[in-house]
Structure formats: structure tokens, C-alpha cells
Symmetry: C2
Subunit: 352 residues, 2 copies
Amino acid sequence: MMDTGGKENADTDASRCLNGSFSQPHSEQEVVEEEEEAAMSSLEDCFRHLAQEARELYLSPEVPRLSHPPTPLEFYRDYVTPNRPVIIENAFNDFPALAKWSIPYFRERLQHKILTVAVTPNGYADAVCGDHFVLPEEREMTFSSFLDIMEGNSEQKGVYYVQKQNSNLTLDLKELVEDIREDIPWASEAFGHKPDAVNFWMGGREAVTSMHKDHYENLYCVIQGAKKFILHPPTDRPFIPYGSYSQAAYKEVDGEFQIVPDPEGHTVPWIAIDPLNPDLNRYPKYGEVDQIRCTVHPGEMLYLPSLWFHHVSQEDQTVAVNYWYDMEYDIKYNYFSALEKMVNCKSTIGKR
Amino acid sequence: MMDTGGKENADTDASRCLNGSFSQPHSEQEVVEEEEEAAMSSLEDCFRHLAQEARELYLSPEVPRLSHPPTPLEFYRDYVTPNRPVIIENAFNDFPALAKWSIPYFRERLQHKILTVAVTPNGYADAVCGDHFVLPEEREMTFSSFLDIMEGNSEQKGVYYVQKQNSNLTLDLKELVEDIREDIPWASEAFGHKPDAVNFWMGGREAVTSMHKDHYENLYCVIQGAKKFILHPPTDRPFIPYGSYSQAAYKEVDGEFQIVPDPEGHTVPWIAIDPLNPDLNRYPKYGEVDQIRCTVHPGEMLYLPSLWFHHVSQEDQTVAVNYWYDMEYDIKYNYFSALEKMVNCKSTIGKR
């Protein structure tokens, strides 16, 4: 009687056993683990259903292509509303930039212009390195010096990339605006407003943008070279691992790059995998969702929907212009924001 | 030693206590309940966040009104994409029905026409009654007999409602098509296709449509009387209780209505609450979300977005026409379908 008394107290009262609440001879510890596991695995199943059904219902393994720009209504209905990427050909044939932009042209027109350039030892700006999230060193230099580096006529170490996303084209490089357009008319009509920013990108094959998402509708126009995208829809969020990293920045000192921790000790949540070489032993769930890959060539425009995860690399020297249109904070955002909360609550449960 | 021995076995081995896994003196049963409760309450919090944020970001307590029809693009961008209802005035001023439709007109033009009429003792067709989901008795009668009942010139018992949703207007009442239009042109242009069905509704103040949702984009045009809607957005799904009911149908036998169980024993999942009189003791969660109510008057059109929950009643004798356009099975459907799975998985965990 004394032997079992303690155990009975620790379990439940007899009435619960009699009415069949616990018909299986489980230890309580097993029950804890099974309940928790069941709760988590059923939520996992829901996440899996979400990601799979997205691919079955409205996404395709390849990014679809249009040979001509859609009407504003077609664009909104067939791509923006379902949050579906598309490559659009012949969308900016009227940009003089397609024929004019070249290193000699930039040198002639903009040689003394001051550019902000992201400098890293390895091409990875705004990316995870060990326990750090490392910003590039932002260096100001003349367009002419930057072009020297692009042409290999400079002893500079590291990778140089013009990637400032503050509408640098319309603010800092006004001289180039006449070679493009300040907006994409059919897109502005579709969205009901002009773009919030127009950015100029220029860099070599080593420059990489680590995987992330933007709160913008993005129209990405390649002028020269080629941009390679690795994409995941927002519904893949539960399979994309995030970590928490100490913010830092590269700084070249006496010809050597150092990682300088943020003096205020900020931490940054960032995606923990490199989609070019994902560590599936550490993050096995990432292996459950397929990457969607595409390459965008000169004269082609990628519509990259808001909240899509994207990793960008480039072939050869690449020049591109992108238009950021404000996204709508509507039902799609609302569902995504709840999904993020669910993923976070699930990992909290999992860690207890 | 013997006193505690049993309990230690039932708990865990000492090493787990030493390394701090269990620092709180909990019984295992308490731990089971707390883990399960935490998992559920955090998912509950996510559901609450979803429903609240919808109201903060893009919904309003009142259904907004437009004084004139939007352009196809405005309609798609501002209402269909965000899944937001709107009442549109002056949207079908060109329908001769607005001036012509009346009991004498119907009697003159359609007196011998055979109608399918839903007959119930209480006005509740397709609704929960006790443990049953009860279909109406579907009765065929001449339009003339139906009009006699509407006018109170008949001894018939029960509530009669023309509510057949098989495109009864274009299929069964072709004579009336010239008084309306077979589609709403700006809506057809927006959706990129014609409606899948056009339905004719006619009934008195007792006829009620119980709360449900449709897999259609719905344009509801009131010709006479008034339709009263109680609405919930799809993001309220976790707060709307469903039950499982045995299917049955009303049948009038010797002047008395009986509930006849479905001979094949089908069960139907249906919404368990009556939003006019919700049982908040039994379903307290329904009290956490606000109803959105609106009344649609003659000459007004309600755009009721796909997957919105709606309960419909009417003032006086009401005649209406609605257009069902196929919905897109895109990201909004995809998220909703995952939400339904999560709600179901949560209630499974809760019941174990």
C-alpha cells in the first residue's frame, strides 16, 4: 500500500482510470512527450499541407514567362493577387539603357560622381558569418574608381557591389534616369501608385545577396549580365530556419578585413541557411521544400512578389534596375504574420 | 526511502533533476496539463492575433459603401484581392426589374411557370435543429400558387422561400432574364469570366439562411424589400464553432411537419451557433469576435467575398438576384485551408 500510494498520487485519482481516460499503461513521462509530440507533429502536418498545396494549386516548379507585358488588370489579377512570380519579356524595350549602358558610357558621363559601394572580403553583404550577421563596409568612391575595380585595373582587395537600396537611382544617379523610366506605367496603374524606390545595382559574379524577404512588390529589370534567383514562397516559412545573430560590420584595416561587432550589441534575426549549400544535417526541414530557381537575362523583368524569400547571385558583370512598389497590408500579409507567430510559438514549445 | 522510491520511479531518473530539467516541484499530471495547455493557448493567441489584425489592417466595423460602381481594376484591387465586402449603390440602375417586378407582374407573365420552393415549418432551411442538419422540403408549384401564399391568400402552413441555387434565374425563369442582365459587365471583366450561376430569391420576413460560407465570389442585388446580413471574415474561422449533424429533411404529412432522417445516414459538418441568438455559455469563444452587420436595400448590391461566413434574413417580402462568380483557388484559399486544418488539429488535441 505504501509502495503504490506515492505513485497513485503522482498519477491521477482512480475515477479517471475507471472512466477510461487512461486505458494504455503509459508512464506519465511518456504521456508528456507523446502529447507534446502530437501537438507539434499535427501543426507540422498543417505547415506541410500549406506548402504542398501552394505548389499544387497556383505555383509551378519553374517561374512562368510572359512574352509581353500584361494589362494592369491581368498583372494584378494573375500575379499580384495570387502572389505568383513571373518573368516578363519585352517589358522595357523603350529603355535607352539597354543599348547605352556600358563601362565606357558610365566613365564618360559619371566619372566624378560619388557612389556608395558595399565592400566585403567574399561578396557576402548583409549575411550570416559564424555567430554574426555582418554588414558590408560602406565606402564612398568615384564612379571612375569603382569602374577601375570592375575592370580589374585596381589592386583593391575584396568584392565591390553597388547595392544601396535607398532609391539610389533617382536620388544619387539622377543623370541615369533619362535612360530608363521613373516607373513602369502598367505596374503603377495596377498598384494605383508610383514606386517608392528605384534602385541601381552593379557588381561582378562574386557579389551575392543572402536569402531574405522584402515588404515590397518588386520589379527587377536586368540591363546587362544575368541575375540568378533562388526563391521560396511565403508559405515555405515554416521550413526556412532563422537564427539570432550579433550584428557586426566588415572593416578593412591595413589591407585585411576584420569583423567589427556592433558597439551597441544589437542582435538580428536572419535566415540561418545558405540555399546554395544548405546544411541539411543541422536544418533537415529545409530539405522538405523545393527551391524555385530562375535566371533573368538582359531585357527581362522579374516580378518578385512581396514576402517571397529570395537569394540573388549574378553571372559576369551585371547591371540592373529595380522598382519597389509599396505592398498592401491586407489578408495575405495578415495570414503570413499569423503563420510567423505560429512558427515561433511552435519552436518555443519544442524547446521547453 | 520506500515512501519516495515509488514516486521517483514514476518521475524520471535523478540525472534529469540534477541537470535542471525539472526545477519546479510539479507532479507529472500537472506537467502534462500545462504542456498541453501552453501548446493550445499559444496557438489560440495566434488565432486571436489573426482575427484582430484583420480588423485593424483592412476591415472596418461597418461594410463600406461606394456611390457608384468601381472600375474592374479598382474592384479587383480594393475589394476582391483583400477579400473585403462592399455595398455598391447605382450598380444596376439599368435593370428594368427595379421598376417592373411586382406580384401582379409575376402573376401576369409567369403564372403557370413551375417553381421549386423550399418549405419549412419555421423559415430555417439548411439549418441545425437539435442533433440534425435539416434540409427543407422541396416542393414544385406554379408561380401563381406561390404568389397566393406570399399574399396570404392561402391556407398553407409553413414558410415558403424560392432559394434554389442552381442558376434558377437563367435556367428555370428565362422569361425574367430580359429584366436584368446575365452578368455584371465590370465584374466579369475584373474576374476574367462570366458568372457561374445567377439565382433568383423570393420570400417573406420569416425566411432565414443559416450561417455558412460559399466557395464563390458573390454579387447580391436587392430588387425589393431588404436583405439583412450578419458577416464574419474567414480569419474568424477559429471562433466559429462547427458540429457534426445527422442529415434530415422536413416533410409535411397530413398538415404536420416531420423531420425525416436521411435514409443513407449521412452526417454533415455545419456551424453550431445561431448568430441571432448565440449560446455563449456553450460556445464562449464566439463572443470574442465582433459580427459585421449590414442591410442591403433595393437598388443596392453587396459584394460578399468568397469564404466569408454569412447569415441572411429579410425585411418584408424580398426579391433579389445574385451572381456567383467562380473564386480563385490561390494563396488566400491556401492559407484558409491550412487554418481550417489547424483549428481541427487543435480541437483534436483538446479532446484527447
